[in-house]
């Protein structure tokens, strides 16, 4: 029974999560794109000389957050930077990406540091939510997302930390993960013996389960800011056609 539950999280649920994620994001994006267009400018002045550059800077450097909430800015930048590394790390777990090996590195950069940064940042975000006035502006979704992310990151990082910190080590090697993930990708899903027989199988299954939950929830949550932040900043900077001020 236990194995069946683990298998469910490791295989069918992964496909279900990816389907919900993909169709959810496409659906939300289509709905937004097909909605009537904003006909007049929503710009803030003075208009920048290069609206696109300014919007990119707003989106990726968060200048106003740096000025108004510098501590939050530091952790937000670290968090998002670590997320990028995490995505790269997981892509490298599917198969070797030679372009990324220009600078030779172990799969999962940082020796557990990326997970640590994410964990610390997530705890800060969570604790901030308990503080006035942020507590009052928070809704259950905010806590739910943070907890889901924390559980995903902690269960994932534990595997990484155990590997680096304990002489007993973490006994699931990169090739085993590659066998599992590339099997999923090739629609030949199987949980390799290296994972199934590992005493840490429960952690892997839990990590995948929480990640599945997060991916399924993503399209229906505020995490859609991943896709909307740039167009919104373009609206603010006058960089979107049709929403510009007339000359």
């Amino acid at each position: 029974m236990q194995d069946r539950i683990y298998y469910f999280a490791m295989v069918p649920m992964v496909y279900a999560a990816l389907a919900v994620l993909l169709f959810g994001i496409i659906g939300r994006t289509i709905r937004t794109v097909l909605a009537p267009r904003q006909q007049t400018t929503l710009q803030i002045f003075p208009a920048p000389r290069h609206p696109w550059l300014r919007a990119l800077a707003d989106t990726f450097l968060l200048p106003t957050v740096r000025t108004i909430r510098p501590v939050l800015w530091v952790f937000t930048m670290l968090f998002h930077g670590a997320l990028v590394l995490l995505v790269i790390g997981h892509l490298e777990l599917i198969g070797e990406i030679r372009a990324l090996q220009i600078i030779p590195h172990q799969v999962f950069l940082g020796g557990g540091l990326v997970g640590l940064v994410l964990t610390v940042a997530l705890f800060l975000f969570l604790f901030t939510r308990f503080k006035t006035p942020y507590r009052e502006i928070s809704v259950p979704e905010d806590y739910f997302l943070l907890l889901l992310l924390l559980l995903t990151v902690l269960s994932g990082s534990h595997m990484s930390w155990a590997k680096y910190l304990s002489p007993a080590g973490f006994d699931i090697a990169v090739p085993t993960y590659r066998e599992y993930l590339s099997g999923l990708l090739a629609l030949k899903p199987a949980v390799p013996m290296g994972i199934e027989a590992s005493p840490h199988y429960v952690l892997v299954a839990l990590h995948v389960f929480f990640a599945n939950c997060f991916l399924m929830f993503l399209p229906f949550s505020k995490i859609m800011h991943t896709f909307f932040a740039l167009p919104l900043n373009l609206l603010r900077r006058g960089g979107l056609h049709g929403a510009r001020s007339t000359p």
């Binding site: 400018t41 002045f45 707003d58 259950p140 979704e141 909307f228 919104l232 929403a243």
Partner: protein, 415 residues
């Protein structure tokens, strides 16, 4: 709430869900960066006066009625039902926001709270709960657009009576009318407010510049925008557009009214003439050497309040500073200023609605800002701001007068 009303409100809500609005409602991370942006919160630190809370009131309805999450798991996003109590909350939310968009400057995503509040105002109209005075004033403006020849003749007579007051500021050019009306092919159609304070200085300045101009029959103020009614906003602006087209003018210059300028300049789409604020026209005359100002004729330290709809929402930011650089050696900036300037607290129709007690309490931060600059004169280029600042300096016993920029320019005109 009656089911028919409920249905109507949701239909109106849906009508505002364009792509930008959907993204505004979908994106907030509730990071709280906007909390301190609002002058109301900075003056009265209550959660209901934060931009994030205001947007969240509408966002909760959006989740409940237009999002899968709200349908399947309403408590997760604090989704809210549209009830009579909710309409009360919407009123408090919409009419404690002046639509200054300072929060939009600070939001990492650039969420436009004023735009979200346009849903709130539309719902209030549909529920018959909007401030009736605003709707009445908007209707009066529209009615004036259908004015008969008699009312036009009466207006012409009233304008004629301003002649002597204009001549105090600037001499009469030979063969030219001091305040021309119905001037075909004029360069500028000047759109004033009701009241001679909006006509006399502008007439003197344009006459001094030797401009070929015409005064509009209509007042610039757009109460349709204040009450949040898009149809009435367009109808009110359309009267002026029709007049400008009929007279074949090259430029429509809007008097010192921030909202009227923003509506005409940025919200009416492409027009067959140029739209400027009168502040831009003055700056242009100075740059082209068409008018000259007697430096320091106006004594005392002068500061300038950037009207939100003219400055950060309209783009007229450096022109007033250029004008002051030619008028006085004793100019001091408010801190913060330009895009970051604090709202005066009178926008969004609040001055017209009254609400003086709220306006005074919610603009304490503005009073502090003025007091810190220690000016003798607070100048501005917006009627709403002028009214609010006049009330404010009185209420907080600040020893400064409040003056229109155009009035100061007219007083400083040099032959």
């Amino acid at each position: 709430m009656e089911p028919a009303v409920h249905h109507e409100l949701l239909t109106r809500f849906d009508s505002r869900l364009n792509s930008a609005m959907r993204m505004y409602l979908d994106t907030c991370a509730r990071c709280g960066v906007c909390i301190q942006s609002c002058h109301v919160y900075a003056s009265m630190p209550e959660l209901k006066y934060t931009a994030v809370h205001r947007a969240e009131v509408i966002r909760r309805l959006f989740k409940r009625y237009f999002k899968t999450q709200g349908r399947l798991w309403p408590s997760l996003g604090d989704s809210a039902e549209l009830t009579d109590d909710m309409v009360d909350t919407i009123y408090q939310t919409a009419y404690s926001c002046t639509g200054c968009r300072r929060c939009m400057v600070h939001c990492p995503f650039g969420i436009d709270t004023q735009m979200i509040m346009s849903i709130a105002k539309l719902l209030l109209i549909a529920a018959g709960r909007e401030p009736k005075v605003l709707s009445m004033l908007a209707d009066m403006s529209i009615q004036k657009g259908k004015s008969t020849p008699e009312t036009r003749a009466n207006f012409a007579k009233a304008v004629e009576q301003l002649r002597d007051e204009v001549l105090i500021r600037w001499r009469e050019a030979h063969g030219e009318k001091v305040v021309p009306l119905d001037m075909q092919d004029a360069n500028i159609l000047y759109v004033a407010l009701a009241g001679k304070h909006s006509i006399v200085p502008a007439a003197a300045i344009m006459n001094a510049a030797g401009e070929k101009w015409s005064l509009s029959y209509y007042e610039a103020v757009n109460f349709g925008a204040f009450v949040g009614n898009p149809e009435k906003t367009r109808m009110i602006a359309q009267r002026i557009i029709d007049e400008a087209v009929r007279l074949k003018v090259r430029e429509v210059s809007i008097c010192e009214c921030g909202t009227a300028y923003r509506v005409m300049r940025h919200m009416m789409g492409a027009l067959p003439f140029r739209v400027t604020s009168f502040t831009e026209v003055i700056a242009r005359y100075l740059r082209e050497g068409r008018i000259a100002l007697a430096r320091n004729r106006i004594k005392g330290r002068i500061t300038y309040h950037d009207p939100c709809q003219l400055g950060r929402n309209g783009g007229v930011i450096e022109e007033p500073r250029y004008i002051f650089s030619r008028m006085t050696d004793d100019f001091v900036e408010l801190q913060p200023n330009r895009t970051e300037n604090w709202c005066c607290g009178g926008g969004g129709g609040l001055v017209a609605v009254g609400e003086k007690d709220f306006r005074m309490r919610s603009a304490r931060v503005k009073a502090d800002q003025i007091r810190a600059a220690a000016p003798d004169i607070v100048s501005t280029a917006c009627e709403n701001c002028h009214s609010q600042l006049t009330d404010l300096v009185g209420h907080y016993q600040i020893n400064a007068s409040v003056r229109f920029l155009s009035d100061m320019v007219a007083e400083s005109l040099q032959a």
